[in-house]
C-alpha cells in the first residue's frame, strides 16, 4: 500500500516536472525541471527493482547530461528577450494530446501477455552484466564505436579553428 502511495507521489511529481520542462518560461528552469523529471524516472526504476539502471540514470542523466545541457545553455545565451515557444505551440498541444490519447489507449487496451502476477520481479545486477557482456556483446561493441564517433564528432564540430 505504502509503495502504491509512494509510487503515485513520484509519478505525479515526474509528470509535473516533465510538464515544467516543456511549459516553463525560463530556459534555466526547464533545465532544472528536467533534472527532477529524470530523477523521477530513476525512482521509477527503483520501483521496478532495477537498481542498476536507477544508478545509471542518476549518474548519466542527473550528472553528465544535465551539466552538458546547462553548459550549452550558458554558451548559447543571448540577451534578446524572446518567446521560448514557437508559433505553432497551440497546434503542438493538440498534436501532443492526440498522441497521448493514442498511446494511452494502446497501453490500456492491450492485454499484455505474460503479465501474470501484476508485480515486477527483481532483476539482479549479475544477470544484467552477464547479458550485457555475453549475450549482447556485439551491440555493446557497436555502442562503444558509437560513443567514439560521438566524441570525435563533438570535437571536430565544436572545435574552434584558427580564424574564428
Amino acid at each position: 500500500m505504502a509503495t502504491e502511495v509512494l509510487w503515485w507521489i513520484f509519478a505525479v511529481a515526474t509528470v509535473l516536472l516533465s510538464a515544467g520542462v516543456v511549459f516553463s518560461r525560463s530556459v534555466l528552469h526547464s533545465a532544472i525541471f528536467l533534472i527532477g523529471s529524470l530523477g523521477g524516472v530513476g525512482a521509477m526504476y527503483v520501483f521496478l527493482t532495477v537498481d542498476f539502471l536507477a544508478l545509471v540514470q542518476f549518474l548519466v542523466y542527473g550528472g553528465a547530461v544535465t551539466v552538458l545541457i546547462l553548459l550549452a545553455l550558458m554558451l548559447t545565451r543571448t540577451d534578446a528577450k524572446e518567446s521560448l515557444n514557437g508559433t505553432q505551440a497551440p497546434w503542438a498541444a493538440l498534436a501532443g494530446a492526440m498522441l497521448l490519447a493514442i498511446l494511452v489507449s494502446a497501453s490500456v487496451a492491450v492485454k499484455w501477455p505474460g503479465d501474470i502476477d501484476d508485480a515486477p520481479t527483481t532483476i539482479p545486477l549479475e544477470t544484467i552484466s552477464e547479458k550485457l557482456f555475453v549475450d549482447f556483446g556485439p551491440p555493446f561493441v557497436i555502442a562503444s564505436v558509437l560513443l567514439l564517433v560521438a566524441l570525435v564528432g563533438a570535437i571536430i564540430l565544436a572545435r574552434q579553428e584558427e580564424g574564428e
Partner: protein, 497 residues
C-alpha cells in the same frame, strides 16, 4: 554461436578507419586527396574480403547478427558506395577543409553500420547500428563547419533524427511488450502466439511508430522533410552518401525486420506501406517540379524513388513467401541500379562543382558545350532515374515493380509509373539546360580530374550494363533475398484478414 570470423571485412573497414585518422593525426600535412585514395583502397580491400562470403551458408552470431547472402550483398554495396564517395570527396575536401581524416574514417564506419543494419536480427543491435550510421551522417553533414547551410542542415538532421528515433524506440518498446522478445524470430513467434481477441490497438500503434522511425531513415513522406534541407546543406559527396548509403541501410533494416519479424501481422502494416509509398512518390515528384537547386532537386527525386521502393515492402505484406522473394529481389536490384546511377550523377556533379562552385540548375547551362562528357553522364543518370531504357533505371524499376505486382497493389504501381512520368519532366528540364542553351558568358570548355573522369565513365558503364544485361545483378539480388524468406515456418505464415 560466437564466430568472430563472420565479421572480418568489418574489422578491415574499421581498422582502416582508424588507420586513416591516424595517418592524418601523425602526418597533418598529408594531401587530402591521398587520404581519399587510401580510404578508397580500404573500401576495396573490404569489398574484396567480402567476396569470400558470397554463397556461404547462413550463420548467426548469437542470434543477433546474421551473416548470409543478404548481408554480403549490402556489404559489397556499402563498400562500393564508400569507395566511390571517398574518391568523389578527394578534390572537394582538399579545397574546403583543413582536416579530413575523420571524414574518411567516418565514411568507413558508416559503411560498417550499414552492414550491421542489414545483418541485425535483433532489435537492440539494429537500433544501435542505426544510431551509429545516423551519428556518422550527422557529423558528415555538418562537416563544413564554416558553411552556414552545412551547420543548419546538421542541426535539423540531428534534432529530427533524435525525435524520430524516440518514436521508433517507443514503438519498439510496445512491440517488446507485446511479443516479449527483441530478437526477430522471437518477435515473430510472439506475434503468432498473440491472443487475437478484440481490437489490438497496441500492435497498430507499435507498427506505426516503428514505421515513422524507419520511414524517417529512408525519408518517406510525411517523415521526409529533413531530407531536402540536409541534402542541400551537406557537402556534395555526403549528399551522395545520404541518398545512397543511408537509404540502402534503411531498406536493409526494413527488409529484414518486416520480412522476418513482422510478416506474421502483415495485415496490420501493409496498407500503411502502400499508402506511404503513394504519398511519398507523389509528394517527392510534385515538389521536385519546382526546385531550382540541384541538390534539393535530387533530394526530392530520391524521395520519389523511395516511394517506388516502398511498394515492394507493401508487396511483402500482401503476398506469400514467393512474392516476398520476388519483390525483395526486385527491390535489391533496383537499389543497386539506383545507387550506381546516383553515384554516377554525383561524381559528375562534384567534378562540375569543383570547377564552378555552382549547385543551381541554371548553373548547368550549356554544359554540353563546355564539358560534354559530364553532360552525357548527368543525362544518363537522370534518364536512368526516369526509367528510360538502356539505363539501369528502366530495367531495375521494371523488375522491381513486376516483382511487387499483386492484385491489391496494382493501383500503387500504376501511380508509381505515372509518377516516374512526372519525374521525366524535371529531369528533362535539367537536360534542357545542358543541351538547349548556350553556356553562361565567360564559361569556356574545361577539363576535369582524370580520376573523376574514369570513375564517371565507369559508373556510367555500370548504369548501361545493368540496364542492358540485368541478369547477373538480378540473380545476385535473388540469392540475397532468399535467406529472408526461407526461415518463415509454415505455422508462422502471414495471417489473412
Amino acid at each position: 554461436m560466437r564466430d568472430y570470423a563472420l565479421f572480418v571485412p568489418e574489422y578491415i573497414a574499421a581498422g582502416w578507419a582508424v588507420l586513416v585518422i591516424a595517418i592524418e593525426l601523425f602526418w597533418p600535412k598529408v594531401r587530402k586527396d591521398t587520404l581519399a585514395y587510401v580510404t578508397a583502397a580500404g573500401a576495396l580491400a573490404w569489398a574484396v574480403s567480402a567476396l569470400f562470403y558470397i554463397g556461404n551458408e547462413p550463420e548467426s552470431f548469437q542470434g543477433l547478427i546474421q551473416s548470409d547472402n543478404f548481408t554480403t550483398y549490402f556489404r559489397l554495396l556499402a563498400a562500393g558506395i564508400v569507395a566511390a564517395v571517398s574518391i568523389m570527396s578527394a578534390n572537394y575536401l582538399r579545397d574546403r577543409t583543413k582536416t579530413a581524416g575523420e571524414y574518411f574514417g567516418l565514411l568507413l564506419v558508416a559503411g560498417c553500420a550499414t552492414v550491421y543494419m542489414a545483418a541485425a536480427t535483433e532489435l537492440i543491435t539494429a537500433y544501435i547500428s542505426l544510431e551509429l550510421l545516423s551519428f556518422c551522417l550527422y557529423i558528415l553533414v555538418g562537416y563544413l563547419k564554416r558553411d552556414n547551410l552545412s551547420s543548419e542542415a546538421a542541426l535539423k538532421y540531428i534534432l529530427l533524427g533524435a525525435f524520430s528515433s524516440a518514436m521508433l524506440l517507443y514503438g519498439m518498446s510496445l512491440l517488446y511488450g507485446i511479443a516479449g522478445s527483441t530478437s526477430y524470430e522471437g518477435i515473430s513467434q510472439g506475434l503468432a502466439a498473440r491472443d487475437q481477441g478484440g481490437t489490438d490497438a497496441g500492435i497498430v500503434v507499435a507498427f506505426m511508430l516503428i514505421l515513422a522511425g524507419v520511414g524517417f531513415k529512408v525519408s518517406a513522406a510525411p517523415f521526409h522533410m529533413w531530407a531536402p534541407d540536409a541534402y542541400q546543406g551537406a557537402p556534395l559527396p555526403i549528399t551522395a552518401l545520404l541518398s545512397t548509403l543511408s537509404k540502402a541501410a534503411g531498406f536493409a533494416l526494413i527488409l529484414r525486420l518486416f520480412s522476418l519479424a513482422f510478416v506474421v501481422d502483415a495485415v496490420e502494416w501493409r496498407w500503411a506501406f502502400a499508402t506511404l509509398a503513394a504519398v511519398t512518390m507523389t509528394a517527392g515528384n510534385l515538389l521536385a517540379l519546382q526546385q531550382k537547386n540541384l541538390k534539393r532537386l535530387v533530394a526530392y527525386s530520391s524521395i520519389g524513388q523511395v516511394g517506388y521502393m516502398l511498394v515492394t515492402i507493401a508487396a511483402i505484406g500482401y503476398g506469400d513467401a514467393t512474392v516476398g522473394v520476388n519483390a525483395t529481389s526486385g527491390l535489391l536490384v533496383h537499389i543497386v541500379g539506383y545507387v550506381v546511377s546516383t553515384l554516377a550523377l554525383f561524381t559528375a556533379l562534384t567534378a562540375y562543382y569543383n570547377k564552378t562552385g555552382d549547385d543551381t540548375i541554371v548553373g548547368l547551362r550549356g554544359l554540353a558545350e563546355t564539358q560534354p562528357f559530364l553532360a552525357v553522364v548527368i543525362t544518363a543518370s537522370f534518364f536512368s532515374f526516369a526509367g528510360l531504357p538502356f539505363f539501369a533505371g528502366f530495367t531495375t524499376k521494371l523488375l522491381m515493380f513486376q516483382g511487387a505486382t499483386t492484385d491489391e497493389l496494382l493501383w500503387v504501381i500504376g501511380l508509381a509509373v505515372l509518377n516516374s512520368f512526372i519525374s521525366l519532366y524535371y529531369y528533362l528540364m535539367i537536360v534542357r539546360q545542358m543541351y538547349l542553351f548556350d553556356p553562361i558568358p565567360g564559361m569556356v570548355r574545361f577539363r576535369i580530374n582524370p580520376v573523376m573522369w574514369v570513375m564517371s565513365a565507369g559508373l556510367m558503364l555500370g548504369v548501361l550494363l545493368i540496364g542492358i544485361y540485368p541478369g547477373p545483378a538480378f540473380k545476385a539480388a535473388e540469392n540475397a533475398a532468399k535467406p529472408l524468406f526461407q526461415q518463415a515456418e509454415p505455422g508462422v505464415a502471414a495471417r489473412q484478414p
